[in-house]
Amino acid sequence: MELNTSSITSIAEAVKTKKISAVEVTSHFLARIDQHDKKINSFVSLNARALEEAASIDKRIAAGESVGALAGVPVAVKDLLCTEGLRTTACSKILENFVPPYSATVVEKLRAAGAVVLGKTSLDEFAMGSSNETSIFGSVKNTWNLYYVPVVSSGGSAEALAARLAPAAIGTDTGGSIRQPASFCGVYGIKPTYGRVSRYGIIAFASSLDQAGPMAHSTEDCAVLLEAMSGKDRLDATSASIEVPSWSKSLRKDLKGLRIGLPKEYFSEALDPDVARVTQEAIAALKAVGAEPVEISLPLVKYAVSIYYLIATSEASSNLARYDGVRFGYRSNFDENPAADLGEFYARNRGEAFGAEVKRRIMLGTYALSSGYYDAYYQKAGQVRRLLRDEFLQAFEKCDVILSPVTTSPAFKLGERISNPLEMYLNDIFTTSTNLAGLPGMSVPVGFSKLGLPIGVQLMAKHFDEQRIFDVSKALETAFKAGEKVPNGI
């Protein structure tokens, strides 16, 4: 069995029918990590119990027990999801040695479906960054070109997939952190509707925007993973009590009559020519299978980055207040130089252990929430957020799925934008509005830049209408097969 290019479903099927053991599958990918990850740097911790967990799946199958849809499927998990007994760092010095006493609901659900956690993948510290350069474990390299960024915080998960170090990966997406690295690395990745997946046990960045989602090599693989991850969780009051459909089994054969909305504001002259070309190719391919392009307008999208950063940093400043050095995490040395008061104790622990980008965002958020500025920043952003969401809902009266670029350009070089935060933030223009409105959004690989770097397109649909997104993704997959190309040297 050629495991590097096998679908998740075929791996699970082979494991269930004993054509291959779960231990053999896990061993194969652990060996690949050992061989390739030194140069890519996608994993920060490996699960020492991975083979043991795989063996227990084999044992259950041998005993005739029923195992789930992900039987023996190795999964790379972003190091922002708590894993009981396995170090979880958020790639921050403040959590460098944190071993959680419990697992995220998503991790529990994946394991219940038979998945094996291979290890934890790198991210920008606390998922804050647009280039995967702010991890304390060093930057992740783009498998397609080692001098380019994999972009955005779930970069480790995307790279592990691109390098075929795992057949499935889990990311989180607050403003594009699943979709942007998926696009830059030539893989599929979906941020589900807000509330579709439990946030319990996922280290919080911005609670009204965060969602976990799958990344994989095909539409169907993403759908199968999302089916296993979704559902109401009593431990997350914002998770939705809504049925989880069998998306993978309901994919449409053609798109006759499906209306594809093209927001005219997303197709400006500023768009990189390669991105513009690939997006037009995607539209043409969808027309060829019966979809009807419809021009729509989303004028408020130009404010999305501003309201996103005001809201995300405000929520982050509140969420990250818990890292104070009392109950867990980094504590400074106070033996020789005691703190003058409790405030200094907190401030020194936090000042020494948070990285530059995290501090910058805590500062921005604290300012936006502070007395005298709250109305003009945080509250105003929330008001525009409502108008933006309503604008999307109105647009969905004219179309079924919205198609747009994922980013304005393909991957950029390491170090190119890290010193100018504003320029880096503006890179999130196409992805942040999806989180603000709570809509599902997916990045689907379609083509390549002239330099050979992957480029995806973004698909968005109404709340809880992931099916339409998967339908269109499948049509693009059939037309381009862009996710099948493997980087050189892999």
Binding site: P101, S306, A339, R350, Q383, R389
Partner: protein, 92 residues
């Protein structure tokens, strides 16, 4: 434009001890970011209530029953402990 005093006050509110160099960098960077973000003032939001959670589904409640979590497990993550307690250094 943020003043140095603004930035120092925010750092104090955020319980972040920052170096002079960090304060200066943040003052410049946040000023640029905020200047750009001020464009949202152009949007008419009269009588619009802020959207704080995107899907506005009814939140479900559960019975308020305490679930016991092993305090030993929780203390395993402590930087310092004393018996069944988290230990912090004395402040003077």
């Amino acid at each position: 434009m943020l003043t140095k005093e603004n930035v120092e006050k925010v750092a104090q509110l955020a319980r972040l001890k920052l170096t002079e160099a960090e304060l200066a960098a943040i003052q410049n960077q946040l000023s640029a970011v905020l200047e750009n973000f001020e464009q949202i003032a152009q949007v008419d939001t009269k009588d619009v209530s802020p959207l704080v959670t995107p899907t506005e589904i009814t939140q479900t409640l559960r019975a308020d029953v305490a679930e016991v979590f092993s305090s030993e497990r929780l203390l395993e993550t402590a930087p310092e402990k004393s018996g069944n307690l988290f230990k912090v250094p004395p402040v003077v």
